[in-house]
C-alpha cells in the first residue's frame, strides 16, 4: 500500500516538475531533484518492506557524546 502510494506520488511529481527543468536547461536542479527523489523513495520502499533503516539520531548521539558528558558534568 505504502509503495503503491509512493509510485503514484513519484510519477505525478516527475510529470509536474521535470519538463520545465529540461526546457529551461536547469540541469543542476534536475540532478538534485532526481537524486533526492531516488534516495527518498528507496527509504520508503525499504520501510514498506519492513527493513530497519539505520537511525541518524544514534550517530548524532555518539558524535555529540563528549559534549553531552560535559553538559552533564556542569549541570548534573
Amino acid at each position: 500500500m505504502t509503495i503503491l502510494i509512493l509510485i503514484i506520488i513519484v510519477i505525478l511529481t516527475t510529470i509536474y516538475e521535470v519538463p520545465p527543468l529540461i526546457r529551461e536547461k536547469r540541469y543542476k536542479e534536475l540532478i538534485l531533484f532526481s537524486g533526492l527523489l531516488f534516495f527518498g523513495s528507496t527509504l520508503v520502499i525499504l520501510e514498506g518492506l519492513g527493513v530497519t533503516v539505520p537511525n541518524p539520531f544514534d550517530a548524532l548521539t555518539s558524535f555529540f557524546k563528549p559534549m553531552n558528558d560535559l553538559l552533564k558534568a556542569i549541570f548534573g
Binding site: 505504502t2 509512493l6 506520488i9 511529481t13 516538475e17 527543468l21 536547469r26 543542476k28 536542479e29 534536475l30 538534485l32 531533484f33 533526492l36 527523489l37 534516495f39 527518498g40 523513495s41 527509504l43 520508503v44 520501510e47 533503516v53 537511525n55 541518524p56 539520531f57 548524532l60 548521539t61 555529540f64 559534549m67 553531552n68 553538559l71 552533564k72 549541570f75 548534573g76
Partner: protein, 368 residues
C-alpha cells in the same frame, strides 16, 4: 538569485511567537518541572532572559548579513569549502528539526486524540499541508499567520481565565527547595526548546523583511520572543499552581490535563480540543518554517534558481525520517534531554557566534 519576498515587521513578530511556543507549549512544562519541580517558573524566567540575550546576538549577526541569509553569509565569510560545509550542516539541522516536530505531532495525535489511526497516516496528511505551504513561499505563510494569530490568542485567553479559580499557591512552596543546579539545568533545556530554535529566523530576518521596516523588525523580534516567553511562563506556572509539580511531571502532556480541568460554569467544559487547535497551528508554523528554510538553505548552497523542485523529494525523506528517528517515547525524552541540547547549542549558539566573530575580523581586516 531567489525571488526576494517581503514580510512586514508585524508578521515577523507573529511568526516569532508561533515558533517560540510551537511544540514547547505541550512538551516543555513536563520536562522543566521534571528537574526543577516547583521552581520551574524560576528556570522559565531565566530562560526567557537568556533568550533575549540570544536574540540580541542574532540581530547583531543580522546587521552584518544585510540581504543575505545565514547560509549565504557563511559561504561569504568562511570561504567556499568550509562555508558550504557549514551551510549544508545547518540545512540538515533545520531539516532534522522539522522531522522531530512532525514526529512529536504524530505521536501526540495518535496517542491522545485519534488513537486508532496509524501514525503514518497522520504524518502523511500533515506533510501534504507542509509541502503545500512551503511551495507558496514565506510571504504566504507570514500572511496566514495574521489570521490565525487572533484565534490562538482568543483560545489562550479563555484557557487562562477559566483556570484562575483552580489556583492553589501551596503548590509552589517551598521555593528553592532543591537548590540552584536543577534550576539551571531546566533553564538550559527550556532555552534549547524555545529561544534557541529561533535561529531559523536568520534565514529570513534581514533578507526577507521589507526594506523600510528593518529597524522596526529588530524591535519586533524581541517583542515576539517576549510574548512567546510570557505565554509559556503562564502555561508553566498554571501547571505548577494547579496540577502541582509531581502531577506536571507524571503525564507526557500536562497542558492537556490542565485543559481537561478548565470549565465555564457547569455546562461548558473539556477544553482540550481547543488546546489541540492552538498546538496544531503553532506546530504547523514551526515545522513549515524549518522545512522551508532547510530547502532554501540547500538551494542557496548549490546555487539553484528555485527551491520548489526539491519540496516533494525532501518531503518523502522527511516522511521516513519522522518515522524512524524516535523508535519509542522513552528514547525520545532521553534524546531530547541529552543530545538535543548539545545539538542546539552547537547550531544555535556556536555557529552564529563563529560567523559573527569571523565576520567582524574580516570586516576590520578589509577596512584597515
Amino acid at each position: 538569485m531567489m525571488n526576494k519576498s517581503n514580510i512586514s515587521a508585524h508578521q515577523l513578530r507573529l511568526l516569532v511567537v508561533f515558533c517560540y511556543i510551537g511544540t514547547a507549549v505541550l512538551v516543555i512544562p513536563g520536562t522543566v518541572a521534571g528537574d526543577a519541580k516547583q521552581d520551574a517558573w524560576i528556570s522559565t524566567l531565566i530562560g526567557i532572559f537568556f533568550g533575549l540575550v540570544l536574540i540580541w546576538s542574532f540581530t547583531k549577526l543580522g546587521d552584518r548579513m544585510n540581504n543575505m541569509t545565514i547560509v549565504e553569509y557563511s559561504v561569504k565569510t568562511l570561504g567556499k569549502w568550509l562555508g558550504s560545509f557549514i551551510a549544508i550542516m545547518f540545512s540538515i539541522f533545520l531539516f532534522m528539526n522539522s522531522a522531530t516536530m512532525i514526529y512529536i505531532l504524530g505521536n501526540f495525535i495518535s496517542s491522545e486524540i485519534m488513537t486508532s489511526t496509524p501514525i503514518e497516516i497522520i504524518i502523511f496528511i500533515f506533510l501534504v499541508v507542509i509541502i503545500f505551504a512551503s511551495r507558496h513561499g514565506i510571504e504566504t505563510i507570514a500572511r496566514t499567520s495574521e489570521i490565525l494569530f487572533y484565534i490562538i490568542a482568543l483560545i489562550f485567553i479563555i484557557f487562562t481565565v477559566t483556570l484562575i479559580k483552580d489556583i492553589d499557591f501551596l503548590n509552589i512552596q517551598p521555593i528553592l527547595e532543591l537548590g540552584v543546579k536543577p534550576i539551571s539545568k531546566s533553564a538550559l533545556f527550556y532555552s534549547s526548546g524555545t529561544s534557541m530554535t529561533l535561529v531559523v529566523f536568520l534565514m529570513f530576518y534581514p533578507a526577507s523583511i521589507t526594506t523600510k521596516e528593518r529597524t522596526l523588525a529588530k524591535k519586533n523580534f524581541f517583542y515576539g520572543a517576549l510574548i512567546g516567553g510570557l505565554i509559556l511562563f503562564t502555561v508553566i506556572i498554571l501547571c505548577i499552581l494547579i496540577l502541582g509539580p509531581s502531577a506536571t511531571t507524571r503525564g507526557s502532556y500536562p497542558v492537556f490535563q490542565l485543559a481537561r480541568k478548565a470549565s465555564i460554569g457547569p455546562s461548558i467544559e473539556r477544553f482540550e480540543s481547543m488546546i489541540t487547535v492552538l498546538w496544531f497551528v503553532t506546530v504547523f508554523y514551526k515545522t513549515t518554517l524549518y522545512f522551508h528554510s532547510s530547502l532554501i538553505g540547500i538551494a542557496q548552497t548549490f546555487k539553484l534558481k528555485c527551491y520548489k523542485p526539491l519540496t516533494v523529494p525532501m518531503g518523502t525523506i522527511l516522511f521516513i525520517l519522522a518515522l524512524i528517528i524516535y523508535p519509542n517515547s522513552i528514547y525520545a525524552s532521553d534524546w531530547d534531554s541529552s543530545t538535543w541540547v548539545s545539538v542546539a547549542i552547537t547550531f544555535c549558539i556556536l555557529i552564529p557566534l563563529i560567523l559573527l566573530i569571523v565576520g567582524k575580523i574580516r570586516y576590520i581586516a578589509e577596512n584597515h
